[in-house]
Each structure stands twice: as C-alpha cells, then as structure tokens.
C-alpha cells in the first residue's frame, strides 16, 4: 500500500475532488448556455456576458464591491500587521488578554452577529450608513484574519537580525521597514489577498451595514438568486471565480519563484563567502 497509491485512495481522491469541483464546473459551463433555461443545454453562446456589460446596476455594484474590497483590505492589512507585531513582540501589557481575545473572536463569530452589532453601533452613534460603514465593518473582521496570518510568519522569523540592527542604533521604525517587513512580506501579501477576497465575498455583514446607494455585488447576486437561477448570474459568478482562481495561482507561483530565488541567492552567498 505504501509503494504507491492504492485503488481505494485514488478513488476517494477522484470522488472527493469531483464533489468539490463539479458544481463550480457546471456553473461555468451553463454560463455559456444559449438557452435562458439554466439547466437545459441550448448550444454555446457568450451572449450573457455581453448582456452583463449593458447591465448598469450590476456594473455599479461590481465597482462598489471592488472599491470596498480594496480599501478595507488595505486598512485591514496595516492594522492586522500591527496587531500581529503586538501579539508576537510586545510582551505583556495591561489588557493583553482582551486584545488577543478580540483578535481571535471574530474568526469564529457568526456573521449575523458581527453584522447586527456593527449596524447597532452605527445607529447608536447616529452615523448614516453606506459605503464607509461597509468598509469599517469589513476592515474590522478582515484585520483579524490578517493578524493571524502575519503572526504565524512572525513566530518563525529570526529575531537576531532585528536585534543586531537595534544594537547598532537603528531606530525601531527603520528596523521594521528595512528588516522585519521584507522578511514577513509574503505573509503580509497573503493576508491582504485573504482580506480582499473575504470582503469581495461577504454578503451578510455588508447587508447589515449598508445604506442607500451602496449595493455590493454579493447583495445584488443574492437578491437575484432569490428570484431564481439565471444565466446572467452564472456569468457574473464565472467571472468572479476566474478572477479569484487566477489571483491565487499567480500568488502561489510568485511565492514559489521568490523562494527558489532566495535559496539560490543564499547558496551563491555561501559559495562566495
């Protein structure tokens, strides 16, 4: 059995991965369906994609979603990286338990509760809801994911170089940008991407915290899905799936290339030394 995969293992992998990917593949296939009936094949056509570009509401929702995702991922990355530094470098300080609790709680909190509580805060401080309130809400839960991703990288990071820089009189701020940040950059980028996709995908929290004029793509998709399955939605979903898939694959290829490059550099440095 150890001398290669057994038929049982191969079967379970094939069945398992088919289960994971078949629904998405079918969704993509039927976005190219000529027929309006989503489940009856009527020939190949890209007309639903053409129609998307004339659907102004959908395009607007797409624009809002990308802006929200970009801004909240960026703010969340800054705050989340700071939080990760605090968790792994700041030692003890008053209220540390509450702090780490607040970082980990949103990861397991049901979205309905996060959304509801955010909305009630905005109502309590009499803040009118819309674009910026979604960004604040998304930043809050995304920064916790970023913090966890970055922290796991910081734990494995060799502190001796930082300490050397500090001993030589390098101010902490400069040490961070010259030494720590380049070292943890892959995790920071991964954290940003995770935050971006989380914000891009979120329906529940955005629905609670939105106001007039700020409709995101998931909200738009959701309200249409409730009315039934249509090929236009399949087309929108296909575009989103394609974007995310390309992003993830590109990121993993770059990380791998960077890693090989680094190893090569290290070997070259050792050979020269």
């Amino acid at each position: 059995m150890r001398n290669g995969p057994s038929w049982f293992n191969v079967t379970s992998l094939v069945v398992g991965f088919s289960f994971l990917y078949l629904p998405i593949v079918l969704l993509v296939i039927f976005s190219f369906n000529e027929s309006r009936l989503v489940t009856v094949w009527g020939g190949f056509s890209t007309k639903w994609y053409g129609e998307l570009f004339h659907n102004k509401q959908l395009l607007d929702a797409g624009k809002v979603t990308l802006q929200v995702a970009f801004l909240s991922a960026s703010i969340a990355t800054v705050l989340g990286t700071m939080a990760a530094l605090v968790l792994s470098r700041s030692g003890r300080f008053p209220g540390r338990t509450i702090f780490s609790g607040m970082i980990f709680a949103p990861l397991v909190m049901p979205e309905v509760i996060l959304g509801l509580s955010m909305l009630l805060l905005f109502v309590a401080i009499d803040q009118s809801r819309g674009f910026w309130t979604i960004i604040i809400a998304h930043t809050t839960f995304c920064m916790c994911y970023v913090a966890v991703v970055v922290q796991s990288r910081l734990v494995g990071f060799d502190r001796s170089i930082e300490e050397a820089a500090e001993d030589l009189g390098c101010p902490p701020f400069k040490t961070f940008f010259l030494i720590t940040l380049p070292g943890i950059l892959p995790a920071v980028i991964a954290g940003w991407m995770l935050a971006f996709t989380l914000s891009l995908d979120d329906l529940v929290i955005a629905s609670f915290t939105t106001g007039p004029g700020a409709t995101t793509l998931p909200m738009k998709i959701y309200s249409q899905v409730r009315l039934g399955v249509t090929p236009e939605i399949n087309a929108v979903c296909t575009i989103l799936v394609a974007l995310v898939t390309m992003g993830v694959i590109a990121a993993s290829v770059t990380t791998k290339r960077r890693e090989t490059q680094r190893q090569r550099d290290e070997r070259a440095a050792i050979a020269q030394g």
């Binding site: 629904p23 700071m82 300080f93 049901p110 509801l116 529940v204």
Partner: protein
Amino acid sequence: MSQTQTKPRRSLGAKALIAAPYLWLLVFFLAPFLIVLKISLSEVAVAMPPYVPTFDLASGWSAFVEKLSDLSFENYIWLTEDDLYWKSYISSVVIAGISTFITLLVGYPIAYGMARSPKAWRPTLLMLIILPFWTSFLIRVYAWIGILKNEGLLNQLLLWVGVIDQPLVILNTNTAVYIGIVYSYLPFLVLPLYASLEKLDDSLLEAAEDLGCPSWKAFWKITFPLSIPGMIAGCFLVFIPAVGEFVIPDLLGGSNTLMIGKTLWVEFFSNRDWPVSSAVAVLLLLLLVIPIVLFQNYQQKMQEKQA
C-alpha cells in the same frame, strides 16, 4: 528576549503600535457587543431607531444610570415563551451536528488519500483543497441550486439513467442544507485531518505488517486512533460556524428549515424587531461560547502535549 525586560518604559512608537489596533477593536468590535446586549434589554418602539430607551451619551452618567432601570428582560422571556426560538436553537445544533458528522464521513477518505499519496502530488492536492475556500461562499451555494432543483441536473441525470421515474424533491429541504454545509465546510475538516494523518510514522504500520497484522486492522488500531486529534479539530471548525449559518439554510433550505441565523435575519429585516433580534444574537453567542471554549482548551492541551 522580550522588549519589556530590556526596556521597562515603552517608547511612544511602541505605545502607538499597541494603541491603534487596540482602539479600533474596542470601538468597532467590543463596543458593538455591549450595544447589542443593551438593546436586547430595550423595548420595541415605532420610531427610528425602533427601540426605547436609547442612550444619549451627552446626558451624562446619571441619566445613564436612570435609564438602566428602564431596561427589561421582556425580550428574553418572550424568547422562552415563543417556541419558534427554542426550536430554531435546537434545530441549528441538530443540523450542524448531523452535517459535521457527514462532513467527517466524506472528508476522512479524502484526507487519508491525500496523506497516502506520493509526496510529489501533495502540494498540488493541498492547493486543490484550499482553492474552493477562496471562491465565494455565495457562489458555491448558488451552484447547488441548479443541481438540486426539481428540473435540475441531478434529477435529469437520475431520470435519464432510469434510477427514478419521479424527480426527487431535494431543494428546499433539510437534505439540501446538509449537502450545502458539507460542501462549503469540507476544506475546514480535511486540512487539520490531513495534517495529523501526514505526520503519522510509517514505521508503525510497517511493524504491524511485519507482525502479520492485516492492513484494515492496522488502520483501525494505529492510523485511526492517531488521527483523532485532527478529527476533533476539524469537527469543531465545521460545527461552530455551521450553527450560525445564514446563507445555506436561506438559499437551499425550505420554509420549515429552522436555523437561528436565519431566524435572526428574518426578525431583523422582515419584522424589524431590533430588540428581539439582539436578544437572539446574545443567546446564540452564549450557545457558541461552550464549543468555542472547549475547542480552545483542547487546542491548548494538544500544544502542551507536543511541547
């Protein structure tokens, strides 16, 4: 070496580093919870916001204390009296429990197959498990509607093969909700399980084989017990978010599928009863605190064991 030992006084920069994320979370995460708790003790009113009393921070501490006496536990009493809420809580836990168990049955062979696959395949397989996690939850749930509905692809296939002669009603039933949860949360279970199966020392199985132990028995006596930590971690990761799930029961479930996330949503958006939905949220949180604390303790114990 921690900075506190070398420098007892923090620099301004170090203080700012702690303060920025700390304040953000206090204002936008902790404070909202206190507000939810407070509103759950208020009464419904036809106004905007639709509840009384509302706190006016400008009127100071004494007014705050005075208003406290206006708070009532009526919403919580209401929750115990109307059996819709009880049923939602229980049915959420039952649906999440059943789904977690099915996820385990589906996920175990996948994780096992991955861990036993040639080393060269593993990074690709791991990537394939993680990739759906990046794809929108809503889209993955939506994809199942086209498959499960009465004139959907699954029924077409089964009718064509001749297994059935009447389309099966799956969409808008609890079965569809189970399928949705298993599908959406499968990666959460496979990843920790794979991690614990991959660490497994091959020499144990070799020794069993050399001593004449049949491979199914070796699996049952060696592999299975050693994979229990991964199974437990994975089950928690599926169960906890599944209890509060909204999108899956709403899109795949029927009108009689009761789940607490959906009840909260309806109470808030359709009935506009903010105090009751806040009370539902508080109780949902209390319901989830038990498994979350259990999970945290378990993880800590495991880490200590490894150290």
